[in-house]
């Protein structure tokens, strides 16, 4: 009896994964521990090894296919063994109403569809936004001749209404379509048509830019570039999560300028003595300390209930080449400045390398988004679902400032908190950012902490 290879469950909240690559072909011998395939979860990529020995008999889910965890994706066994009747992978289970560990037990789960205390990338995606399923959309009924004519004509037959049995598209339907759409009037260069066929571009939908509207290679290339493409899992998750947060959370924003001159000087002094701290480490520490003073910013709400967290799990938004991830420093309020520095550096490094484990990206209670290195005056960030605020840190710039009745040039950095108005009032947010500012401007505090 062949062994079923199933999609693993790489993270606590992961419900489905996409196959990125098969490293074995059907018929290849497989040893225990051989990497069979690579998957993309909503957070990271990982390799899946075989627990069995034998031959890869059958691949059920092709590259690009997305299936629920625990679904069978392949069979490994002895050559010639019968493969069990393939059961279609079950649909993803209905989204559970998650109850955050720290939410009050009375939280009305059924009435709380907004997932709670999980960070940006940790909520399962509702089935409705799940991308390409392993089975293609219901195949159009089309005769081989009609298909060939469509292909040779470089057109897309999917919109053609078939007149054959059961709506089957016949060659004459394609011909009628071509005539009705004025196909004979299309002028196209030979190379452009070859390219359109290869790239599956419907030339009826391409506007030619050549003389007399002739379609050239450039026009087809443009159509290829403009063709809608399925976004990566990461971008889909970002889209879904941020839309949900921005449309369901009443955001408001409070900005203060922070005079960083003294802290920068202190940091330089410490660096000369060999201390590793970056300005970011100071900001992280200041935020952790301030969150303990303003617990509303370390809470979460669904609009009916509110839950307070006793620990600070600080998310750090890290931009990647094509998206972002938010690694979480757990129990940040228990850590010294040195420990914060080490943990943050390790997590950010893993994030850049795409090596974060799913659980290193979940459980955050507040997030910092730092654009300091991107030369910006100020910006506002979108709160991660389940959190009550996010701090946007902008670049430090030489700025004329009035001090003691005179204009001085100081290094000024603007910070802007985005707050969920359901749990945070305006005065609290003002107090919060000013408390962070006071800490960052207090060099004596840092001499003590470092």
């Amino acid at each position: 009896m062949p062994h079923a290879i199933v999609m693993p469950k790489p993270g606590q909240f992961t419900e489905e994964c996409t196959i990125l690559r098969w490293l074995k072909k059907e018929g290849d011998p497989v040893a225990k521990g051989d990497v069979l395939f690579e998957i993309e979860t909503d957070k990271a990529n990982m390799e899946v090894e075989s627990f069995f020995e034998g031959t890869l008999l059958k691949i059920l889910v092709p590259v690009g296919g997305t299936v629920p965890v625990q679904a069978t994706v392949a069979f490994v066994g002895q050559p010639g063994e019968a493969i069990p009747a393939v059961v279609a992978p079950p649909p993803p289970p209905p989204k559970p109403a998650e109850t955050p560990a720290v939410s009050p037990a009375a939280a009305p789960a059924a009435a709380a569809p907004v997932p709670a205390a999980v960070p940006l990338l940790a909520t399962p995606i509702p089935a409705s936004v799940a991308p390409s399923s392993p089975t293609a959309p219901a195949a159009q009924k089309i005769s081989p001749r009609a298909r060939r004519l469509s292909k040779e004509s470089a057109i897309d037959p999917s919109g053609i209404r078939g007149t054959g049995p059961g709506g089957r598209v016949l060659e004459k339907d394609v011909k009628a379509h071509l005539e009705q759409r004025g196909y004979a009037r299309i002028r196209i260069t030979l190379a452009a048509k070859e390219l359109a066929i290869a790239e599956k571009i419907d030339i009826l939908a391409v506007r030619g830019s050549g003389e007399g509207g002739r379609i050239g290679v450039e026009d087809i290339r443009r159509a290829v570039d403009e063709k809608p493409k399925v976004m990566s899992r990461m971008r889909q998750v970002i889209a879904q999560r941020l839309t949900q947060s921005f449309t369901s959370t009443p955001h408001f924003f409070v900005t203060v300028p922070v005079d960083m001159t003294d802290l920068i000087a202190l940091r330089r002094e410490m660096k000369d003595r060999g201390a590793p701290y970056s300005v970011t480490d100071f900001i992280v520490q200041a935020v952790v300390l301030t969150l303990k003073e303003f617990p509303a910013f370390n809470s979460g709400t669904d609009g009916r209930s509110v839950w307070w967290r006793s620990k600070v799990n600080l998310g750090l938004a890290v931009s990647l080449e094509n998206g972002l991830v938010v690694p979480v420093v757990r129990d940040a309020d228990d850590l010294s400045l040195a420990e914060l520095h080490d943990r943050a550096a390790a997590l950010v490094g893993k994030a850049r390398d795409g090596k974060l484990a799913p659980d290193e990206m979940s459980g955050g209670t507040f997030t910092i988004s730092n654009m300091g290195m991107l030369d910006v005056e100020n910006f506002t960030a979108i709160i991660n679902p389940g959190e009550a605020g996010i701090l946007a840190v902008s670049s430090t710039r030489e700025t004329p400032v009035v001090r003691d009745g005179r204009i001085a040039i100081r290094s000024v950095m603007k910070i802007t908190v985005s707050a969920d108005h359901r749990v945070v009032d305006g005065s609290v947010a003002a107090g919060f950012v000013n408390a962070i500012r006071a800490k960052l401007e207090d060099a004596a505090l840092w001499r003590r902490l470092a």
């Binding site: 260069t189 030979l190 190379a191 452009a192 070859e194 390219l195 290869a198 050239g216 290679v217």
Partner: protein, 463 residues
């Protein structure tokens, strides 16, 4: 003050077609020329060199014709008659330009044009001065040979324009610069009997060509024409005397009757005062323009060599036409991207579109189909089997992206390749097109088959 819709400054291969096109479109048009109708191309460039190269080429072919059963002993060059043929060619074509301009009603203004303001241009000529008003101005003032400052100013140190007017062919010629102008004139002089040395600073001559084409031309220049080619070294200094020059290259002094300087060309804007119209040349002196030849000043266009684009007469002609149409309110296509190049060396070379080296630099996946004239009936019959043609095609769809030809009639053969590439034909379609037999042009069809390794007139490709 006379007012014009369009005033063209410079009557070279860019300017005069621009004026004719503007007039065709109904614009009241004037053209200003300070020196000679037809510009460098007609007077000191493309045309006179071809008159002389044709003679030299003919002499070389006649000398080589014994194998074909033609004996012409004691072939001699009458250089004075050759120069007269050159002058007659130039005069005939210049007369043609003048009568065309007249037939289209273009006002001809002789003299130095200079901007007074954005729309006023003073023309100072032998018969006095006048100022005209111009709604649109097309600057087509061209370029001139660049001569490095360290060279002595002496009769023995000349650039291409003076070379063409020499009453006698120098017996010993050193050519500084192995670009296409230097190589063309070197081949011509060698075919007419001069002892020629080319000194090129780069690693090879004709660096715009792919290595296979360069190899073919260089071999012929060295082995057939006896030209000495020194590469990777520059001219260090020159001692010029009354009768000749000594040219120092590395440790060696080369004796020459003339040193021909062909190291590039620089834009001509002296006396034009474009700054009075608000138009400032760039740091190299070019009047930069956009893809429709519009400068930064509305209503002023710059075409041809002066705008820093490809320094080729046919590119200037195309740009002039496009600029004239834009000036007359016909907003059309931007400049043509596909500019063929032709080099009248021995053998001739021509190219259009991408070279293999460019395709490689761009990271494009291409296939190359090459067909040598040694395998072509017509070439063997003519006794001209040196060289080849080749296509560079997109590896996936077979779209023709570039072509090169080296050998007999290469400069004429390239036009059909330009048409095929611009029409975005594929190698397959050119291969299927029936080419007349027996002709040199058949080589394109064979090379197109060779792109897919299916040329039946070549042995199967080695794997």
């Amino acid at each position: 003050m006379d007012s014009y819709d369009v005033v063209v400054i410079g009557a070279g291969p860019g300017g005069y077609p621009a004026a004719i096109r503007a007039a065709q479109l109904g614009a009241k048009t004037a053209i200003v020329e300070r020196e000679a109708w037809g510009g460098t191309c007609l007077n000191w460039g493309c045309i006179p060199t071809k008159a002389m190269i044709s003679a030299a080429d003919l002499a070389a072919h006649v000398r080589d014709a014994a194998a074909l059963g033609v004996r012409a002993d004691n072939v001699r060059i009458d250089y004075a008659a050759l120069l007269a043929h050159k002058q007659a060619t130039v005069s005939k074509l210049a007369g043609g330009i003048l009568s065309l301009l007249k037939a289209y009603g273009v006002t001809q203004l002789r003299g130095q044009a200079s901007f007074q303001t954005r729309d006023r241009i003073r023309v100072a000529g032998a018969d006095g001065e006048s100022t005209v008003r111009a709604s649109k101005v097309i600057v087509a003032t061209g370029s001139t040979s660049a001569v490095p400052g360290f060279l002595p100013k002496a009769p023995a140190v000349i650039e291409s324009r003076a070379f063409l007017d020499l009453a006698e062919l120098p017996a010993r010629l050193v050519v500084m610069g192995g670009g296409y102008i230097g190589c063309e004139l070197a081949c011509m002089a060698a075919m007419l009997g001069a002892k020629v040395t080319i000194v090129e600073m780069l690693e090879d001559v004709l660096m715009l060509l792919d290595a296979d084409a360069r190899r073919e031309v260089r071999r012929s220049m060295e082995q057939h024409l006896g030209i000495r080619i020194v590469t990777g070294r520059g001219v260090d200094s020159v001692d010029a005397g009354p009768a000749g020059a000594r040219v120092k290259v590395g440790d060696e002094w080369i004796e020459a009757d003339r040193l021909l300087v062909a190291v590039g060309r620089r834009p001509v804007t002296d006396g034009l005062h474009p700054e009075r119209a608000g138009l400032w040349p760039d740091e190299k002196g070019y009047l930069r323009a956009d893809g429709r030849n519009r400068t930064a000043v509305p209503g002023i266009y710059a075409i041809g060599d002066v705008n820093g684009g490809p320094q080729l007469a046919h590119a200037a002609t195309s740009q002039g036409t496009i600029a004239a149409e834009d000036a007359c309110g016909h907003r059309g296509k931007p400049n043509e991207a596909l500019v063929p190049g032709v080099i009248f060396t021995m053998p001739e070379v021509a190219l259009v579109g991408l070279t293999e080296a460019e395709a490689k630099a761009k990271g494009l996946a291409v296939k190359v189909g090459r067909f040598p004239f040694t395998a072509l009936g017509r070439a063997i019959a003519a006794g001209q089997t040196g060289g080849f043609v080749k296509w560079i095609a997109d590896a996936a769809g077979g779209q023709l992206l570039g072509a090169a030809a080296v050998g007999p009639r290469a400069t004429d053969l390239i036009s059909v390749a330009a048409v095929a590439i611009r029409a975005e034909l594929t190698a397959h379609e050119v291969g299927r097109t029936i080419h007349p037999h027996p002709t040199f042009g058949e080589a394109w069809m064979e090379a197109a088959h060779a792109v897919s390794g299916e040329c039946g007139h070549l042995p199967p490709p080695r794997r």
